[in-house]
Amino acid sequence: MKGGEPAAVAAILARERIALARAITTVENEAAGASELLAALRPHLGRAHVVGITGAPGAGKSTLIGSLLGAWLARGSKVAVVAVDPSSPLTGGAVLGDRIRMGEHAGHDDCFIRSLSARGHLGGLSRTSAAVVDVLDAAGFDPVVVETVGTGQSEVAVARLADTRIVLCPPGLGDEVQALKAGVLEIADLLVVSKGDLPDAERTQAELRDMLALRARAPGWQPRVLRLSALAGEGVAPLVAAIDEHRAAAGVGRRLSPSGDPSGDGASLCERLARRDRYVAALGVEFVRARAGSAEVALAIGDEHLNFMGNCHGGVLFALADTAFGLASNGYGSVAAGIDAHITYHAAVRKGDRLLARAHEVTRNRKLAVYRVDVERAPGESIACFTGTVFLTDRRHRP
Amino acid sequence: MTNSTEASTPVATDDAAGRTDEAQARWRAAYEREIGAQRTARAIRNRSGIVIEPLYGPSERSGQWYAERLGYPGQPPYTRGIYATMHRGRTWTQRQLVGLGTPADYNARLRELVAGGASAVSLIPCNSVFRGYDMDEVPQELLGTCGVVVNTPEHLAACLDGVDLRRTSIGLNDPLPFTLLAFLIVLAERRAVSIGELGGTSNQSDYLSHCVANHMFFRLSLAGSRRVLLDEIAWCIDHLPRWNYLSVVGQHMQQAGATPAQAMAFTLASAAQYARDCTARGMDPDQVLARFTFFFDVSVSFFEEIAKFRAGRRIWARLARELGARDPRALRFKFHAQTSGADLTRQQPLNNIARVTVQAMAGIFGGLQSLHTDAYDEALSTPTAAGARIAVATQNILREEARLTDVIDPLGGSWYVETLTDRMEEEIARAMARIEEAGGMHRAVEDGLVQRMIGESARRFQEAIDSGEQVVVGINAYQAEEEPGERVAAARPDPAIMRMHVERFRRWKAQRSPGDVARALDALARSARDASANTFESVVAAARAGCTHGEICACLRRELGFGQPLTVV
């Protein structure tokens, strides 16, 4: 698909439903043309308020989104929802069932809902969720809601993607509050106690408030705890108002501007880092593109890369993959130090071959991140597979 | 699923114990030698998961065992039947469910069935009616394709033209809020029949089974359904002494994939839920439970079904006492059975006649009070008249040619059947305990537990068919080339006649008094908001004032919430 062409972009900007849906498929599958399309949409990003909703399975995320849709559509907003469901670790298949729980508003003309399978990706989102949000942002939807898989405390990926982070807590958490405390609770701008009509709801709300009070207060926005009964329709208006307030306080487009990188998504930082790397230059590695969490670099194999067998030296392949790994992991703005890496070689490489190494993030928490790099000769022809782990330091890259 | 191995291998009871023991050991050794190690290792299980032994023999069963576990027909625990005479006294009610096209079409078919031996009337409304809509608000191509289009008392009057309301037992497939029953009451009033003389059953009153397994009948939210059903029961106790206001349905759940044991367990757990709800409202358990009836699927798993019904009767006699009843009428487990459509195949459709026969026999030996046999062509389309005739004839043959009614509980005392009855009882009790732990049936349905258990069983059964472990003739074994001419044509109502039916309905609506209709619907809405009012009384009043089926359902959906099924994959 020639996704980056003006006609395709114009159709997306005009919110033509079929074009938009097929563009999402292109970026979701990282199909041919996806990068060009995203590049063409870049000037149109940053208008949408991205609202992330996370919480354990059964906490009532989809029902909550249904209530929010009602309120937003009633005031004339054009709303998009990206709902991520888990995939089966055995077969990769998935049943995507969130949208049907969002109720009657799913059929509204100003509402666009897209279900994504996590496709084995950890952290509550699929690997390409952020790109899907970009397409919907460019199309002029505002807000764009992102519903995570909801498998628990590891879902911090939404923290970077969303401008307003809502964590949903069903009543009667008990011990789970302790687990929450260590995980998602830390990212919440708004904590919402769902199923507010259940007897434990009030106590849960009080417990969460106590917990917030114990935390060191950071300057700026102070997280709040709200109670909601989506079934009875109570608590929706105060939640909508709180979301508006947070938007006013924190702004939109967080995913586009990781701290320390004014260019937006880390792309310009990556480009600077790549230019600074003298080994890369000596080896002849070409910088293709990179942003926080992903990178692509290429290399044309020449005489200087060959070993005593006349094949490309394994160290060259390692260096190529390691370059993509380093750029992807450092694109967030803080220094990521490689602490472990492995490579498997699948095929011999000869002079004249052109190789492409693509890095993507497998998982990321506050201390560690794991990346996978695929080295290919032609699309789908795997040459080597590389995995690497970085330790995330607090140090920032110098501007 | 149980893992218990069969406890009742043959045990001797007489003086020749030693000889019998030795003979048994010899048989066992010969059996294992001759059948081969591979087949000994592989246990045979029935659909409920119970291991079936190759042979059952006499066990240590005393006179006391007989009195406690079996008893005589008409005596607790009713294992052998709920009446002293059973089918010798009165055979089962032959109740064929029919419904097609316009009220006039239905009336013609009804007269044909009565002439053919059907002893009671039943009415299946169109699926648009089941969903709570009037004919002028739905796509016309679906109208009357699965049932009769009834939206007003006038339509019901045309359906039941020539039927004596005083003498005929009428089965209405009428989910809450029971508009068809309200129309019947209005019709009786118009024909100057005292409503106290109306006899029959509100089939499809069991909203829990609809929420779990037949979503088409699920009209109001769970909480709203609970309220409206209790209102109907209370109203019927006061005004309709011969009406069976509640039929607790296991059929949908077994059709949806529950094992026979699960279906019985969920049905009994639902009955317990309804009984507790009624007594919590101050009703007398003896009075309330006496008019509970039950409705089951009967599958082709012959012995398992017989044991299911015998075990169900025994558990109900015990459960009803626990629920506070003492009157024998409340302890009797009265049930209607319908042969299972899920067992029928599209391939080699005439084979279905054999399946229906085996299913019907299982129901009869299980001691049913009322029976519907499916038409063999149900797996192909809405049953044809020819198919329905064979279904009725099957019952006549079993009753009058084969004389299955001559002996009460003819399989009682069979070592296999008695042992299997005990095992099924244990299996049913286990599933019921799980529901109780979850907080009772209403809660277990609300949380999706029942739906998940049924989904799991359905999947397991499908896997058994896919792997060939469960043989289905014509599907995974003995497949044959289809013979031309085996196919039957679908019966569809005449679109021109249906268009006229809709047109007449529109005109009828237009000539009503708008003020009367608006006032009646307003009163209905107010009764729904007032917990101390009886909503069914307002439904009857609304029907009297000319409100249509669709208007009544829409009003209560607005007030009490739409019945949204919980979807579990």
Binding site: V95 | F130, R131, C146, F218, A489
Partner: protein, 149 residues
Amino acid sequence: MSIRPKVLITKIGFDGHDRGARVVAAGLRDAGMEVIYTPPWQQIGEVVKLAIEEDVDVIGLSSLATDHLLVPRLVDALRAAGAGDVPVIVGGVVPDEEVRALLEAGVARVFHPGTALAEIVAFIDSETGRVRAARFAATMREGDDDEQH
């Protein structure tokens, strides 16, 4: 990487029996597909919107009563919305002469009760491949046109 088929399993009309639809949805998931499963009684407009937004490869309708009689309306609505290339398959109890009518109306295939899951999986796989190849070819043609201008 081969892309997984994305399939909508749904029901239109009045019937609510979902045993078949659920077993098929679970089976397709286990075959590695991405499945969107809805409750019964979807309106035709809702199905069209969902199929477009989710960019599904195939729409599967389950019909146990007579709801298949509405399927031609759905096919027409898809065409009118510009999504006429999405194949529609029907599973359930459909009388023979109405199977013919459905195929003539544009339904890709009717599966009867008792069909092995593997057969359904294979058909969806091949339809997905066919439709994606056709769409890809169409975008390449459009691209060529653009370059000429």
